[in-house]
Subunit: 284 residues, 4 copies
C-alpha cells in the first residue's frame, strides 16, 4: 500500500520558493514522486503540490509542522499536509436519481477511488437496496420546509459519527442552508446539470431545450453560499441536435454528470485541487 | 455544375404530408438526391428539406408555385424553393480581428463555400489588403455614435448595390440598430465568442477567465432584435485549464470561432437551416 | 406503453420509392412518428427507417407481409418489420472486468434500454452477486482450450432457452469460434478498447501507451468472422497526456467503453441500425 | 519584448535534482516564470522545462554551459538552453493543398507563432501568390523520381541559406529520402491526415470511409526514418456519420489538420517538447 505525503502550498510569488522547498525535502531524504506548480501572474501567487514517498523520509511526520515552519514562515505560506495512509471519508447525499450514486459506488468498489465511503444519506428510500448491496450504511433523513433545521442537525450528527471529510451531492435535490454550507468549507462537492454559468438554478435541461443550444453540459463545483457560483472543478459537454427531445438531453446529460462528478471526487481525494479567487487549480 | 432545387417546408403535423410531397415529386419525374424531415411533437410541427435534380423534372421551375400550390394549400405549408444555380451573395462585415474573415475567404477560394462573396465592409482599414488579395471589393464605412444612422444607410446601399442575400458578422464589433436587424430577418449571422447563453454581452473571454470555467465556447447564431438571443446555429467548446491565461483563451477561442462560424455560413448557403420557436433545425 | 411498428428497408436507389412507401402507409392510415432515409450514391442504394403508431393502422400487423409485398417486390426491397411490443431479449457475456456490465444493468433498470435482459453468462464467478442484485439469471460457463466446443454448445443452449435475440460482449475476453459467429449474424455486439482500426488485437491500451498517442478510443461493432473487422457502430475518444500511465489509460478508457457500448446496444434494440458494405447506417 | 531563457533537461531520475537546479537558479538570481517536470517511473527518467527572465540573472548567458556544468555532470543531464531572443527560423514545405500553409501564415502574421517564417518551398506553383502576399520568399523546387537527389540537394542549400531551424511539412506530398530525414533530426514536423496509427500511408480519408469509422483524425508528428512512425506531438478527432461522403471527410479533416499542425509548430518553437522512447512530453 502506498505510503506518501502530499504537501499543498499557496504563497505570494517571489524568488527562491522552489529552491527552499526542494532543499528542505532533499535534506530530509524525500523521494519525490510528483511535483507540479503554478504561478498566477495576475495575482502574484505561487501554488505547488509535491508528493513524496515516506519510506526514507527522515522527518517524523508527526512533527512535520515544526520541521517545515522555517520555510513556511520565510515565504508566508498557507500549507496543508495530506497522508495517503489517511483515506478521505466520503458521505454521499442523493435524492431519487441514482445514476451518479451507482457510478461512484461502482468506481469505489473497482478501486478507482482511493477513499472510504461509509455513509449515504437520502431524503428518499429508493436507493437503499443499491447502497446496501455495496456494503455502505444508508440513512434516510426526510426533509421538508418545516423540519429543515432538525433534518440538517441530524445530518451533521451523522457526518460527525462517521468522521466524514467530504460530502458529495450526487443529484441531491435540496438546497443546503447557509449554516450547512458554512460548516463544511471546501468539503462539499455538487454536480450541476448544465454548463455553468449557463442555466443556473432549476431545470437546466428544460431551459437548454427551450433555448435551442447545440451542446449540453455538466459542471462539478464546490458549494459556497451563493447557489451555483462556487469554484468550478470540472466541466464536460456533449453534442445534441434538433432530433433530441428533453428526455434525450436528460439521458445524454447523465453520462456527462457521472464522468464530471467522479473526476471532481477523485481529484479532491487525491489532494490535487487548490483554490484561490473562487477558482480551482487542478494538479493532474 | 450542379443543377438542383431544394424545397424547405414547415407545416402543422398531420397524416399524409410525406405521401403528398413524394407523390407530387414522383409524378413530375423528380430524381430525389436528399430528403430529410423532422417532426416536433411538442409544437405539432412538420419540417422537411428535399433536394432533387432538375434535369428530368417535368415542371417548369418558373411555374413551380402554381404546380405545387394544391399540395401547399392542403397542408397549410410555409415553403421556400431554392435553386443551386442561384448562388447566395454574401457580404462580410468585420472590424479588426481578421481570423474569421481570412478563414471564410480561404474556404471560399478552396471551393468549400458554394456562394459568391462580392463585398466586405469594415469600420477599419486593417483588412483591406487581405480582402483585395482574394479579389473581393472592400468598402470602409467608419461608424461612431454620431454618424450611426448615416453609416448604416451607406451599408444598406452597398447591400442593395451588390444584391446581398446574407450578411455575415465576422467579429464585427458594432451593435446593429433595430432598423438594421429588422431589415434583414434571418439574413444576418453572427459569431459570439462564448458558449451562449453563458457570458452574453461584452468581453466573454475575460469573464470566462474570471469565473474559472474549464471549457470555453463559441456560438454562431442569427441576429434578432435582442442581443445574443437569436436562434443558435452551431456551437463548439474547447478545454482549458488553470495554465491558460486570458490570452490563451482568446487564442484557443479563435480556432473555435473559425469553425463554428464557417459551418453556420455553409449550412445557410446550402439551404439546410429551418427556423421555428427561436430554434434551428439543421438538415445535415 | 408504446405500440409502434418500425420498417427497415434496403433497396436499389430509383425514382418513386418514397412515394410508394408513403402512399402505402397513408392509405392504411398510419400515423408516422419518425422517418429517416439515406441514399448511398456510390453503391446506388436506398435505405430507410420509418416508425408509425399502430393505433389507427388499418392493416392487421400479422398480415403485414402480404399487404406490403407489392411495394416490396416493385422495388426489390430487403425489409424487416419490428414491433415495439416485442422487446429484444439480450444476453450479456462478461469475464472479470465488470464496468460495462454494471453500466448496462443500471441503464436497463433506469428505463434507458427498452429491452429484456434475462441472462448473463460468464467464464468467471466475480460478477455473480452484481447480476443477481439486478434480478438477472447468472450462468457460469467455464471455458478453456480443451472444452471450447462443449462450452459454446452450452452457451447456445442457454441462448435458445432464454430466446435470446442479441448477444452483448461486455469485455468478454474469449475469442468466439467461427461457428458461434456464423450462428448469430448481426446479433453479436462487442466493445473493443481502442479506436479501431488502430490497435487491433490484444492489449490495446498498452500498445497505445507504447506508441505515445495523444488520444485513446473505444469502438463498438458487430462481430464477424474476422477479428475486430466487423461493422463499426460507435466510437469515442478521450485526450491523454504524457502524465497518464497505462493504468490511467485503462481508467479513462472504461468511461469511453461504457458510453460507446451502451449506445450501440440502444441503437440496436431501437432498430436504428442498417448494415451494408461492412458499414452501419445509424438512424438516430 | 520577452527576454527569457528556457532550459530543457533529461536525466536519470534520482533524489536531489530539483533541489540542485532550483538552487543553481536561485543563487544566480533567476526570476522563474514557468517550471514543469515529469518523472517517467517505467524508464526511471526525469524531464524538466524551466523558463526564467534574464533581466536579473547573474550568469552571462554566453557562459551558461560553464556555470551549469557542475550540476549537469552530477546528474548526467542531457540539456538544451533556448533563448527567446533567438526566434526559430521555419521553412514550410507544401504541395497543392494550401489550407495548412494559409493557416500557418495567417497565425504567424497575427502574432500567434513567435518564430520567423522566411521560406516556403513547393513542388508546385499554386501557392506562390499566397506566400508572397504574406511577404515570404517562395521557391519552386520541382521533384520527380529522376531528379530527387538533386532536388533535395537544392532544398538543403535553401535551408542553409535561410539558416532554417525547423521544417514543417504542411501537406507536402513527397516522401523524404532517408538522407533528408537523417540530416534534420527532431527538426521536421509533418501532418498526417489520420488518427495514427490507423491508416498509415496513402489516402487515409478514403480508407477511413471504406472502413466505416465514426470518427476521423489528424496527427502531427516528428519525421523519422520509418514512415508515419515518428513521435506523435498532437492529435485531434471529429465525428462523422453515414451522411458524410469522402469529400465531407476531407473537408472536416482540413479543420483538424490546421489545428493539430499549428499546435505542434507552436509547442516546438516555444521549446515545450521533449522526446524520449519515441514519445513526446509536452510541457504546456
Amino acid at each position: 500500500m502506498k505510503n506518501t505525503a502530499t504537501l499543498l502550498i499557496t504563497c505570494p510569488d517571489t524568488k527562491g520558493i522552489v529552491a527552499a522547498i526542494a532543499d528542505f525535502l532533499h535534506r530530509n531524504n524525500a523521494n519525490i514522486l510528483h511535483a507540479d506548480q503554478h504561478q498566477d501572474a495576475e495575482n502574484k501567487l505561487f501554488l505547488m503540490r509535491v508528493e513524496w514517498d515516506l519510506t526514507d523520509f527522515s522527518v517524523d511526520i508527526n512533527h512535520f509542522e515544526q520541521a517545515f515552519s522555517p520555510v513556511a514562515h520565510q515565504f508566508s505560506m498557507q500549507w496543508q499536509l495530506k497522508l495517503s495512509q489517511h483515506k478521505t471519508r466520503v458521505a454521499i447525499m442523493v435524492s431519487q436519481y441514482d445514476h451518479c450514486l451507482a457510478d461512484l459506488l461502482h468506481r469505489h468498489k473497482s478501486g478507482e477511488l482511493a477513499c472510504e465511503i461509509p455513509l449515504v444519506i437520502s431524503n428518499h428510500r429508493d436507493t437503499e437496496a443499491l447502497v446496501k448491496f455495496y456494503g455502505v450504511d444508508f440513512h434516510h433523513v426526510a426533509i421538508n420546509k418545516e423540519n429543515k433545521v432538525a433534518a440538517e442537525a441530524a445530518q451533521f450528527k451523522l457526518f460527525d459519527d462517521y468522521k466524514i471529510d467530504l460530502i458529495v451531492l450526487a443529484r441531491y435535490m435540496q438546497i443546503l442552508s447557509p449554516d450547512f454550507v458554512a460548516r463544511y468549507p471546501q468539503q462539499i462537492i455538487n454536480i450541476h446539470h448544465s454548463f455553468l454559468p449557463a442555466f443556473i438554478g432549476a431545470r437546466p435541461y428544460h431551459r437548454a431545450f427551450e433555448r435551442g443550444v447545440k451542446l449540453i453540459g455538466a459542471t462539478s463545483h464546490y458549494v459556497t453560499e451563493v447557489l451555483d457560483e462556487g469554484p468550478i472543478i470540472e466541466q464536460g459537454t456533449d453534442r445534441i441536435s434538433h432530433r433530441d427531445q428533453v428526455e434525450d438531453l436528460i439521458q445524454k446529460g447523465r453520462d456527462l454528470e457521472r464522468v464530471v462528478l467522479s473526476k471532481a471526487v477523485r481529484w479532491h481525494i487525491e489532494n490535487r485541487i487548490l483554490l484561490y479567487a473562487n477558482k480551482t487549480v487542478i494538479f493532474d
